[in-house]
């Protein structure tokens, strides 16, 4: 007994040549202190501190590991540092974007009337006056919000039947035929169509059919459908595929027709997934700017008719307010409105994303798997 005690305290041969478990924490603390010291010499800022500390941490840990553990372990540590670092780097723009929109958008969105007034009658002179007098910024996003809702709704009404029926064809009738394979391939290719090309297509189509210069909400809705249909097809197809075949066979065994089996058995089973897929598709197209820019024009007034006249939308509102401020000499009111609209748009998109997850969870598949 008296012999084993000192042996137990000595490091086992198996763990020899390994860094102690606390090594990363020690290196991190040293790196943070050194980083702060270096930054203090050249002017402190949080971003630089993080960057310098991360580099010092990597060098320190990899160097220590190379000295104690050898090259292979050191390479492993280096890879771990780089991979974790790349994840942190990817988070930076996300945090920065959300922070920028929040900081700049909140003054806009809490201005009374921002959500309930349009830009009708808001001129550069009024903006100059509000800057000079320090009064509240006039004008709002009501017309753009209304336009976005109308255009997106029409696009959804077009896309969902077409997308869902196509998915049904692919899963239930396609049987891996040449046509089904071609549709699958081209739907995938369609997901990659640049949004502005979809807008140009819709514009070119209506220019050719209705007349040159046709710009209405409906043209924009067609453009958005081109972007939305492939998303709906893909998500619905995945959902229909996971409906167990036993359910279909049970229905057939009871003598139910195929179309009634699909309508009454297959679709109700998959409806939660389909609904959440459609919601995600809406979230994808609601923020599209370029196709609306070339198809619906800009408007400063409320337009309740999707089929006639130019129509505003939130993304194009942001775009025009930034690029062509209402008052060129005082762009601040315009940029406040633009950031406010950006915040509204992000909230809308996040709510749709959240809604999609909730739908998927609440109406979880009724089929036991």
């Amino acid at each position: 007994m008296t012999v084993t005690a000192p042996v137990a305290r000595k490091r086992s041969a198996l763990t020899k040549g390994q860094l102690p478990a606390f090594a990363p924490y020690v290196v991190l603390a040293v790196a943070l202190v050194l980083g702060a010291a270096i930054l203090a010499l050249i002017g402190f800022n949080a971003f630089g501190w993080g960057l310098v500390s991360a580099i010092l941490f990597t060098i320190g840990l990899v160097g220590w590991s190379a000295a104690v553990e050898g090259g292979r372990k050191a390479n492993d540590k280096l890879a771990t540092c780089l991979i974790v670092g790349s994840f942190l780097v990817a988070l930076l723009p996300l945090i920065s974007v959300i922070w920028t929109v929040l900081v700049n958008g909140i003054p806009g969105i809490i201005t009374p009337g921002f959500l309930t007034t349009s830009m009708n009658g808001v001129t550069g002179a009024l903006d100059n006056k509000s800057v000079d007098d320090g009064t509240k910024v006039l004008g709002g996003v009501y017309h753009a919000l209304l336009g976005t809702v109308q255009i997106t709704l029409l696009a959804t009404v077009i896309s969902v039947p077409v997308g869902l029926l196509t998915a049904i064809y692919l899963v239930e009738y396609g049987n891996d035929r040449a046509l089904a394979r071609a549709i699958t391939f081209f739907v995938d290719v369609m997901t990659g169509i640049p949004s502005i090309v979809a807008g140009l297509f819709s514009a070119a189509f209506f220019f050719a059919v209705v007349g040159p210069g046709t710009k209405t909400g409906a043209v924009a809705a067609v453009a958005l459908s081109v972007l939305m249909i492939p998303v709906v097809v893909r998500s619905s197809e995945e959902m229909l595929k996971i409906v167990p075949n036993e359910l279909r066979e049970a229905a057939y065994a009871l003598g139910v027709r195929k179309w009634r089996t699909i309508l009454k058995v297959v679709i109700p089973t998959a409806i939660s997934g389909i609904a959440s897929g459609v919601t995600l598709a809406i979230a994808r197209v609601i923020g599209e700017t370029a196709p609306i820019l070339v198809t619906a024009g800009f408007a400063t007034t409320i337009n309740n008719n999707v089929f006639g006249g130019w129509m505003a939308s939130l993304p194009t509102f942001i775009y025009t307010q930034i690029l062509n401020p209402t008052s060129p000499s005082n762009p601040d009111p315009s940029s406040q409105r633009a950031w406010g609209a950006a915040l509204v748009l992000i909230i809308l998109v996040m709510l749709l994303n959240l809604g999609a997850r909730l739908i998927a969870r609440i109406f979880a598949p009724k089929a036991g798997r």
Partner: protein, 310 residues
């Protein structure tokens, strides 16, 4: 002999079957028709620009002299974006698939997917209002210290609204695409390959090098191609961030232009031949992205095991 009620009484049901399967087939064909319609109508509306006398096209030297520099600008912006985004995206994908704790992994994946949910116009506004002013001192440093390289030739733009800034914003936008596809593929690496590598004494990085990356290589290539397709066609990030101009080699001066941004900036006020010119530019963009996407999809479909990759 009585008629068999099983075969005769279901006339209505059979009609329903026919109508329903016909409707689904029609919807499928409509999608193909739309895709060909996109090409067809773009060609029809573009023809006037292609046959017009060169002097009438903007710039005065014909359509191809007009489109050439913008195509090069588009390629420059997209390639830089990919060079920045690819290593980070693969790192993030590996982090989520092999490094993050199992319980956190799906949540972290969702956080990265949030990057894809942010509308492009918001990225554009962020790039113009936040990133460009922040990054312009770095351009000044590059111009004075590495100005001997043609791509960093000074004088640097004081506003930071350069093609490099636009490319950085683009790289943020393609990051989630490359990440989510690579992640799916890395997760499908056969567990036995990974365990065999670890059992032979490989470290985690060596296991990834000999088991995960070789298995995922075709998937990564197609993910990069899809990211390229997105970067080529992205409009708002460039339209809002870049202060455009003639084609220049320097990445830190204002100048250069991409097809999508050129269309977005000029189409709303365009009329007559200008509309045709811009639609023809859109056609060129369509053909380029279609080619890139078809190659990517072809690579994916050659490797059917990546079923979750699309």
């Amino acid at each position: 002999m009585t008629t068999n009620s099983l075969t005769t009484s279901q006339g209505a049901g059979r009609a329903g079957d026919k109508v329903f399967s016909g409707a689904t087939l029609a919807a499928g064909c409509l999608i193909l028709a739309v895709l060909f319609g996109v090409a067809l109508f773009l060609v029809i509306q573009a023809i006037p620009a292609l046959v017009a006398p060169p002097a009438d096209i903007q710039g005065g030297h014909g359509f191809f002299a007009y489109i050439g520099p913008i195509v090069v600008g588009t390629l420059i912006a997209a390639v830089i974006a990919l060079v920045i985004a690819t290593p980070v995206a693969i790192g993030v994908a590996l982090f989520i698939s092999h490094y993050a704790p199992r319980r956190l992994a799906s949540g972290l994946g969702y956080v990265v997917d949030l990057l894809a949910a942010i509308p492009s116009v918001v990225y554009g506004a962020w790039g113009a209002a936040f990133l460009a002013p922040q990054i312009s001192p770095a351009y000044g440093w590059l111009a004075s210290n590495m100005g001997w390289l043609p791509i960093f030739q000074g004088p640097a733009s004081a506003t930071g609204k350069t093609i490099l800034t636009a490319s950085i914003v683009l790289s943020v936008m393609v990051l989630p695409i490359i990440t989510s596809l690579s992640r799916e593929i890395f997760l499908q690496t056969p567990k036995l390959h990974e365990e065999a590598a670890l059992a032979l004494g490989a470290t985690r990085w060596e296991m990834i090098k000999i088991a995960v990356l070789p298995f995922g290589r075709p998937g990564i290539v197609s993910a990069i191609m899809l990211g390229l397709g997105r970067a080529l066609g992205e409009t708002m990030a460039v339209a809002l961030v870049l202060s455009s101009g003639a084609l220049t080699a320097s990445l830190i001066q204002s100048g250069n232009q991409t097809i999508a941004a050129e269309i977005a900036l000029n189409f709303p006020e365009a009329s007559g031949l200008k509309v045709s010119t811009l639609i023809a530019a859109g056609l060129v963009l369509f053909v380029i992205t279609l080619g890139v996407n078809m190659i990517a999809r072809w690579i994916i479909s050659r490797h059917k095991e990546f079923s979750g990759a699309n």
